[in-house]
């Protein structure tokens, strides 16, 4: 995203000409609330700081329940929309929690292990076994890092206590001790990571949160083996749902004047948005096939593309720890290639999983925190994770192996310039294959359908006019 043309005060960074300012922190209740949607009016005051947070608390119908391991409370938000009073939609983030599967591993192991459990009750992170753990469980393996032991030998572990929900009985008490969780507004609308909106001078902005229903185990919560799934009809606690915003006003009137002067000629915000394409990958035929290919159009004519991210859900099944927030990759190769402007992005169509990981490192100029067996459990078989160690009552075995095979393709060039697509839609060439020796360990892995999510990121813009009207554009 490029926001270099914005006034300093609208960038989330140290300003070159500091001016004394006042911060007003506001706590706003939703203007409307139901178990499917909450709407907030973003207070019109000064400049909205990038630190804004959505707070709520969740309820579950099961004992020993946790949010899913990777995305935590982010799973409760199915969709988030930032729009204006005149009905313009600045950003509509559908499949928000699925996209977070591609984002959370980039936060770093330290953040995910120590900080994320407090903020959003996720507990993603992996560590080597300690020396005093049961050797028969842990030789040569890794294990989740935020855990508690359920027995003396260490062969049964569960998520750490701080991320486990109170029992259903305790939730009915007063006070019910349901922990509050928070989601940064910038997670839902990433342009806020480095842009601050002059909401005091803009038309009224609305934040719409579409809550995800607790329709199946793994959609919001998972629990220990042996506890039956029970749906919670009211998974969001209304009395604890707030929007926390910080607003900055500068004492020097020239700072706001500069913004207003720029607005007189339409102040333009360039930002990265994301559209989603869902692609169903059918079962390979015949079921003993060793290669399955698929081609599809992903649209995006004339878009300025910056990157594509992908996850694949296998046969629409949930994972005992990740729920529906994972990416299946137990193949010898799983390869995404794109044809843009009639040219293939990569010369070959058969990249290995190690090459796929290298692509990931280019998206954020930092590596994803995904251990090898979790990224590509190729031929992992029952060696995927500790063979006898139970996690949350489930044998780890190979159900972890290759289950966080997220993929991404960087489309910006060395200068940070986005890739201008022409008049043809992006063509997807997708291939998954398994070798004979892989099939000897995991028979017929292509006998599974996939639901793939493609998150296509591109540059677009909105402009604010002198009277505060917002005009949005799909392009820049």
């Amino acid at each position: 995203m490029s926001n270099t043309d914005l006034p300093d005060a609208l960038k989330f960074q140290n300003v070159s000409n500091p001016s004394s300012s006042k911060q007003y922190s506001l706590k706003t209740q939703p203007v409307s609330f139901s178990q499917s949607k909450a709407r907030f009016e973003i207070p019109r005051q000064g400049i909205l700081s990038s630190n804004a947070m959505l707070q709520f608390s969740g309820r579950t119908g099961m004992d020993n329940a946790t949010y899913t391991m990777l995305v935590g409370c982010l799973a409760q938000v199915e969709r988030a929309t930032l729009s204006t009073a005149s009905g313009k939609v600045i950003m509509d983030n559908r499949h928000f929690s699925e996209k977070q599967v591609c984002e959370v591993p980039f936060r770093g192991n330290t953040y995910n292990t120590f900080k994320a459990p407090y903020l959003n009750m996720s507990y993603y992170g992996f560590a080597p076994p300690l020396e005093n753990e049961d050797a028969t469980d842990t030789v040569g393996t890794i294990r989740p890092s935020s855990i508690q032991y359920l027995n003396a030998t260490g062969s049964s572990i569960a998520p750490q206590k701080s991320v486990i929900f109170p029992t259903t009985g305790q939730q009915l008490l007063t006070p019910n001790n349901i922990p509050s969780v928070q989601i940064q507004l910038a997670q839902m609308f990433p342009f806020l990571y480095n842009t601050q909106l002059p909401v005091g001078s803009m038309e009224q902005l609305f934040l719409d949160i579409y809550w995800r229903p607790d329709s199946a185990v793994g959609r919001l919560f998972v629990t220990r083996s042996g506890t039956a799934y029970a749906s919670q009809s009211f998974p969001v606690n209304q009395v604890d749902t707030f929007l926390h915003t910080d607003h900055i006003t500068y004492d020097d009137p020239s700072v706001m004047e500069e913004i207003e002067n720029r607005m007189a000629s339409n102040l333009q915000f360039v930002y990265t948005d994301c559209i989603n394409q869902l692609v169903n990958t059918p079962v390979a035929s015949p079921v003993t096939a060793s290669i399955a290919t698929l081609q599809a159009d992903l649209g995006c004519v004339n878009y300025k593309l910056t990157g594509v991210k992908n996850i694949a859900l296998e046969a629409f099944a949930h994972h005992p720890a990740f729920g529906f927030y994972y990416s299946y990759g137990e193949y010898t190769n799983r390869n995404i290639n794109l044809v843009i402007n009639d040219s293939q992005m990569y010369p070959n169509n058969n990249q290995t999983q190690a090459e796929n990981y290298t692509r990931l490192t280019k998206i954020y100029d930092m590596p994803a925190q995904i251990p090898k067996p979790l990224y590509s459990g190729g031929r992992a078989g029952t060696d995927g994770f500790p063979t006898t160690q139970l996690f949350n009552g489930f044998a780890q075995l190979d159900f972890w192996g290759g289950d966080l095979n997220i993929q991404a393709i960087e489309l910006k060039d060395e200068q940070g310039k986005a890739l201008q697509n022409g008049l043809a839609p992006i063509r997807l060439i997708y291939e998954r294959n398994v070798s004979a020796s892989y099939q000897a360990v995991v028979p017929q892995p292509l006998n599974k359908a996939e639901l793939q999510y493609y998150f296509i990121e591109y540059l677009r813009s909105f402009a604010v006019s002198g009277n505060g009207n917002v005009m949005v554009s799909e392009f820049i």
Binding site: N109, T332, D342, E355, T358, I370, P373, R379, Q415, A418
Partner: protein, 437 residues
């Protein structure tokens, strides 16, 4: 194929995949059959960011060379697939003039990565890309068992970065045409240098489906024409010069005529000379000076330029059985500005002489070398750029002398791998390229 360069369409991104120019018919490289890999990057009017480069491919244990399995076999836990690249070099493709040549490449990597990266990096990105993990048990379970299948089919895929001065420490992107393209050459190590095993059967490795991948920046038409017409100029790079010595006495004085003008740091490490090309032991592990089955300490270091102490104007002494904090500090400073090193995979828990490999509780034996408790990685360094701005010290015409005093009390021969990090310039012109140190 590449992204179209139609005006106003696409951008300057062009991914490439280059097969070895000497790819054999059976598509397989090994020390016994095809021991050299060569990749040619074209003399084209594009710009290469060397940090995007990866050597990709698959590694396997050759059919029927480990029929007993791999329970008693390991590869270096910090190196993974990079154990197999013994020497690497960068040259101009057209003139064949050598820009950077690194012998003992695995030793260089083990001098750099464990200190600059943390355990989490080895558990995550290096595990996937390089097949390294900082864990001997993990190496057995997730690396070697997957390489070993005795059917010779799959192998284990890797996508390793290249750890040379050109690719790591150089900020400049390289225009390929003025320097006449690039040639990257890897000489493969013998299997006895890659694996350590206590089995009678000695495993051999093979590499196959090898390629060099990365991305070019293809500038706009006007800039491309400008690259074509570039007459002469210079590209500044940081590079490592490898040296080798042996230590087999309590006191040792080494003098190197470097002939280098911008020396940023000098780094070195030890391994018993008897470990080299010995299937019983890991020759790539960085150890203290070894005598019998135990480690010895360096107790005094002196670094001199032209016979005058520099940078320490005192004898850097170390109390025996300590954590050698001062040595470790200067080693880290030799790698990077010390405030910028926030995480490290080597620390007191991996290197404490009282408990690490070589201590009385974990004596130096072939079996202990593959123990999960063995994470030892000790290297030493002298910084000449404490401000971290990569402005080095002039050693042209001024020899570098390193005086070492250790607790070694017999004649055990310890190999010493020395690397000098320094600046160099690649000057290009109509007569080809010249490397200026």
């Amino acid at each position: 194929m590449s992204v179209s360069q139609i005006p106003d369409i696409g951008n300057g991104l062009q991914n490439f995949r280059i097969a070895p120019s000497n790819n054999p018919a059976n598509n397989t490289f090994s020390h016994q059959s095809n021991p050299v890999l060569s990749f040619e990057l074209p003399s084209s009017n594009v710009i290469l960011n060397l940090k995007t480069l990866r050597v990709v491919g698959k590694m396997r244990i050759r059919y029927n060379t480990a029929p007993l399995g791999v329970a008693n076999t390991r590869i270096d836990q910090y190196l993974g697939v990079n154990s197999v690249f013994q020497n690497v070099s960068w040259s101009s493709k057209n003139s064949r003039a050598v820009i950077e040549r690194i012998t003992n490449y695995p030793q260089l990597i083990n001098t750099l990565l464990p200190a600059l990266k943390d355990s989490s990096a080895f558990r995550n990105e290096f595990g996937v890309e390089m097949l390294s993990s900082q864990s001997n048990n993990f190496t057995e379970k997730f690396i070697l068992e997957k390489m070993f299948q005795n059917s010779g089919v799959d192998g284990l895929d890797f996508s390793t970065p290249i750890f040379t001065g050109m690719t790591m420490a150089s900020g400049d992107k390289i225009p390929l045409m003025p320097i006449g393209g690039l040639l990257y050459t890897c000489e493969l190590a013998p299997s006895s240098a890659v694996f350590n095993t206590t089995d009678a059967q000695q495993p051999e490795y093979e590499l196959f489906d090898i390629a060099l991948v990365g991305s070019y920046y293809v500038p706009e038409m006007a800039e491309r024409e400008a690259i074509v017409s570039m007459g002469s100029g210079e590209v500044e790079i940081n590079t490592f010069t490898p040296l080798y010595s042996t230590v087999q006495s309590t006191n040792q004085t080494q003098t190197y005529s470097l002939g280098l003008s911008d020396v940023i740091s000098v780094l070195w490490s030890f391994v018993p000379a008897s470990f080299i090309n010995n299937y019983q032991f890991n020759q790539n592990q960085h150890m203290r000076i070894t005598q019998g089955t135990s480690s010895n300490q360096l107790v005094k270091i002196n670094a001199l330029r032209n016979g005058v102490q520099l940078p320490f104007n005192y004898d850097l002494t170390v109390e025996p059985e300590t954590l050698e904090a001062e040595l470790h500090k200067y080693y880290l400073m030799a790698l990077k500005k010390i405030q910028n090193i926030t995480h490290s995979a080597v620390d007191a828990t991996t290197n404490d002489i009282r408990f690490a490999y070589g201590s009385s509780g974990l004596p130096i034996t072939a079996i202990n070398q593959r123990s999960e408790l063995n994470k030892l990685n000790v290297a030493y360094g002298v910084p000449y750029d404490v401000l971290g701005d990569l402005a080095g010290v002039n050693f042209s015409g001024s020899p570098l002398t390193i005086e070492l005093q250790s607790t070694l009390s017999d004649g055990t021969s310890n190999a010493q791998f020395v690397f000098v990090l320094h600046k160099a310039k690649v000057a290009y012109g109509s007569e080809g390229i010249r490397v200026l140190n």
